[in-house]
Symmetry: C2
Subunit: 214 residues, 2 copies
């Protein structure tokens, strides 16, 4: 039995470009998306550090309000939130997942988003049939990179697992929880931590290659 | 004996504008600063969630590398890091701190940065004589908003304390550790969390007013 391939969703399987464009359409520069998203991630880490919890969607909304206000834009606009529900998978995603399944791997998603919104994204993007398990941080009320969601994913698959993620912080969280890791480097390009860099892949096809070679 | 006023440093006592400008001088749009800084804060929260630690300055450097690469700029440039050492205090800072001390309050700084770099910033900005204690997250190897640094500050001052900070996450961390809080709202403008908003002040003079009225 092959190991499990555990994929992050937003930014890893799905290109965040429509959300970026939606902010630009409101008058923001392209880097405002990164400001919003990093603020959102920091909010998720903050509530987790405080042993508190709010759904990712609520944090995305409040972080967006502040980001828009800082840009001098109307803080009540919500189009970028809606765009998060309409992301498209990276073009090579379906084939990469199919290859992993054909090789006997379990294909799992592990996301800070909700299971419902993830299921909708996967089905809308044509990946629904290729994923064996959807695991959400909602279930443990702790966001990645807290170890609880990674441990839940390991428990759910019942075999060794490799986390495949486009975010350095996700790789570090998975590593600390005992998963192998592959970093898809196309979003961050340069390893963002002063800590040992992981195996890296340029896209999901290359990540599947790496996974299957091990 | 009046309570202690515990100030965050970067963005609260000191204006981050020179660091923002330094990134713009490298060819980045103004919102790239927010992308860098939020990434840096998320990296600090990440290592803290993983029971690990790297000095804030190292995280600032690695987060900057990724931010520059994402912008298509030379990732080896370090001017924005140098600019963090040359921030100026907000114009009303000295008078606000002096009023608090005259009223018998202990004036304390509590920062994710190191004690050394904070001391240099305070002395360079003419605030050194107005601060009774410099408390750094370095001492507990846990970054705010983890409760350990707030508890260290409370222990150090030995009396009730109010955290005065320009960042929602800092306000939430302080509140969870038992400090009163005042949020200086000029950087974020809109309260960034789907959680109860704190008392707010437009600047440090207004924050001192609020503190002294209590």
């Amino acid at each position: 039995m092959a190991d499990a391939a555990v994929f992050d969703v937003i930014g890893t399987l799905f290109d965040r470009e429509p959300a970026r464009r939606s902010l630009v359409d409101l008058g923001a520069p392209p880097s405002a998306f990164e400001a919003w998203f990093q603020r959102l991630l920091h909010e998720a880490a903050t509530v987790t550090l405080l042993d508190s919890y709010r759904p990712f969607k609520e944090l995305a909304a409040s972080a967006l309000t502040t980001t828009l206000a800082q840009l001098g834009l109307d803080p009540s606009r919500t189009e970028p939130l809606d765009a998060l529900a309409e992301l498209d998978p990276y073009p090579e995603a379906a084939e990469a997942l199919a290859r992993l399944r054909d090789a006997g791997a379990a294909v799992v998603t592990l996301t800070n988003g909700s299971a419902d919104s993830t299921r909708q994204l996967l089905n809308r993007g044509g990946l629904g049939e290729l994923v064996d398990e959807i695991v959400s941080c909602d279930e443990v009320q702790r966001f990645k990179p807290h170890r609880a969601p990674y441990e839940l994913a390991l428990e759910r698959v019942g075999r060794p697992a490799t986390m495949i993620a486009a975010h350095g912080w996700d790789v570090l969280g998975a590593r600390a929880a005992g998963l192998a890791t592959i970093w898809v480097d196309r979003e961050e390009q340069q390893w963002p931590f002063p800590l040992e860099a992981p195996a890296r892949a340029a896209d999901l096809a290359a990540a599947a290659d790496l996974f299957l070679e091990r």
